[in-house]
């Protein structure tokens, strides 16, 4: 069957993108969701045109969410301009300086999904696929999870990026649905990734946010083109970056892995029994490790060997 080419955001001109954002909204497919975004801000138009260049347009289906990322009404549009994120008549975060518009859009979309998408089991974890199976990477902020995620997705012979932050599991089939949003890097990680992968496209830096400086990496085209392909959980990893440390692995007992996933889930309690069954299933079919590391070149080959074993 000849593959149908789906029109992407990149198939629109800059003017068309701006025009859509300004009027009824630019409809973009992100994993299983269609999101309708409205904005009059130049940074958001730039972001959609560049970071979201290869995302399919979702003009042919109903949008799951309609969001607004824009200047607030009144003075703060002009005087020290701010940005707000609005969803369903609700503004979840306090306004930010307009220079952080892109970060605000990403946070807002995360908020929208992790508070609302209770048709799925949701984890605060990165997820990548290799040879048809995927790895969950959970970790506290500062554990180096996003850097490792970017490394795996951008290296030679890359892993397929499913998600960098919000992992979506179907509660009926226990498989992972890709979300494929841009990878969010913080502070020093931005330069590390830029140095290691000069070809990677990194978006505008948003300075002075609650999380320091933030920038987003464009998702590799191959991952995006396979946005509708689910994957099977195979490994759970708790990485911990520690300066100067030698790579050290330790197995994670099942009991701890269950607790870890429950803790890292946004809606484990909300889903009740279905959530518990899904976590149990994931843990029972996964290898589980924690690893302390400082050198990505040392860590990655070891990880791949363990994963493939």
């Amino acid at each position: 069957m000849p593959s149908q080419t789906v029109p992407t955001v990149g198939s629109l001109t800059s003017a068309e993108i701006r025009q859509r954002l300004h009027s009824d909204g630019l409809r973009v497919k992100m994993g299983p969701f269609a999101i309708c975004i409205r904005s009059s801000m130049a940074d958001i138009a730039w972001n959609m045109e560049n970071l979201y260049r290869d995302y399919p347009l979702a003009d042919d289906r109903m949008a799951d969410y309609s969001v607004l990322v824009d200047y607030p009404r009144g003075l703060r549009r002009w005087y020290r301009p701010q940005v707000i994120f609005e969803i369903d008549g609700h503004i979840p975060y306090k306004p930010y300086p307009a220079a952080a518009a892109i970060a605000m859009m990403e946070w807002g979309l995360n908020w929208t999904l992790f508070t609302g998408a209770n048709q799925y089991l949701l984890f605060h974890a990165a997820c990548l696929e290799r040879n048809g199976k995927c790895i969950f990477m959970a970790g506290k902020p500062g554990s180096g999870k996003s850097t490792l995620c970017a490394e795996l997705a951008l290296k030679q012979n890359p892993w397929r990026l499913l998600t960098d932050e919000l992992t979506i599991v179907r509660k009926e089939t226990f498989d992972v649905l890709p979300l494929c949003r841009p990878i969010c890097l913080k502070n020093a990680a931005i330069d590390i990734v830029a140095q290691r992968h000069p070809d990677a496209f990194i978006g505008k830096k948003n300075y002075n946010t609650a999380k320091g400086t933030i920038a987003h990496v464009r998702v590799p085209t191959d991952s995006l083109s396979r946005m509708d392909e689910p994957s099977t959980p195979h490994m759970i990893l708790l990485p911990q970056y520690k300066q100067g440390a030698k790579t050290e692995w330790a197995e994670l007992p099942q009991s701890e892995a269950i607790m870890l996933l429950a803790e890292q889930s946004f809606n484990f309690q909300t889903l009740g029994a279905a959530g518990f069954m899904a976590i149990k299933h994931i843990v029972s079919q996964s290898k589980m490790y924690e690893v302390v590391y400082s050198d990505l070149d040392d860590l990655v080959p070891q990880l791949e060997e363990l994963f493939d074993e």
Binding site: A34, C36, R38, R61, M62, A63, D64, S66, L68, R73, E86, D88, G89, H90, Y93, K94, A103, E106, W107, N110, W111, F114, G116, A117, N118, Q119, H124, E165, C184, T209, A210, K211, Q269, T270, L271, G272
Partner: protein, 387 residues
Amino acid sequence: MNNMNLVRESVLLKYWNEPDRVCYYSVPEWELFLRQARSSRLAGQWAYRLAQQESFDQIPEPAQMALDAAWTYSEHHQRALMWEIRQVEKVLHNLDCVKILLKGASYIYQEMEFAQGRLVSDLDVLVPKSAIQEAEKTLLDNGWESGKYDPYDQRYYRQWMHEIPPMVNLQRGMTIDMHHNILPETSRRHLDATPLFDSAVALTVPDSIQKENPWAPTVSGWRSLQDVDMVIHAAVHAFQEGEIDGSLRDIIDIDGLLRRFSETSSDFWTRLLDRAKQLGQTRPLYYASHYSHEILDTPIPDEMVKPIRKMGPGLFARSFMDATVFRALAPPTYELRPFSARFSSFFLYARSHYGRMPLNLLIPHLWHKAFPKDKIPEPDNDGQPMG
């Protein structure tokens, strides 16, 4: 479109009584419908209504998913509330007084159909004023803490309000509001709560709990307000005490109660009007039945239409209230909330405050709220953005 139709003809409500027709909405209608349902916190109740429809399959898949998500969330919410109700019942077991569940907690505990999928933010309980100190102490000894730290707030509740400061369960994070009346002490419509306690009805333990523990007693330690008092309380809450802003849910409760009780009791409406007169709450009852009928077509018996209209305000106040209430209740479109809606909400907020306290108390109160002295900060619940 006139103001009434902003609410009545909204995609959210126009087929509230014929849910089947929602299944045939176009894609743009569905998008707006879900936006309005989520913003009014009515998505769970809609999910329940739509799941009963034969044409459920006609609904676009993303909307089915959204309804599934809303239903899952509301189920969790009700499960947690039911658990909280049982824990409070145990803790207050030895407190020798009438303990009444109010509002959402009561509808859900009584498994009323209109409240399927309803969200409830707090657990509201009513006990006699003579028992409230003991009740508070018992809760404080058993894992609850007062949610208000500011000494001014403490005094505000204890001296003037009909409830003590909300208490939060430290483990579960759920808030309980302990009331001793349904209106503030300072309210112009303040009433003696004794008749409410005298006519409260005993409750049986809900089926869902009995199924889990067949050995547990079937008589609950909780009571409910009697039917007419439930309606009056809902009316007072919506039109005298609370903020009308975003309280479409209150109208839906009032409609649900009125429909339910008209069916279960033949002299319900006569008793309702008599009771409202007895308790001095005819005006809130007028507003409740008026708006519920205008927005959701709640049936009102012909012979009651005139007596109810008599309980209303004069023509001028009536048209002013109509203009503001409908505007404040209008579900959101894609624009940020228009000025007229925000103004209407503010007006209704000010009005309910004016009803709550005489001006000589209200002005210093609002002054304090605007310019607090030595404010002790409340814990910030505003989550940090992720990522």
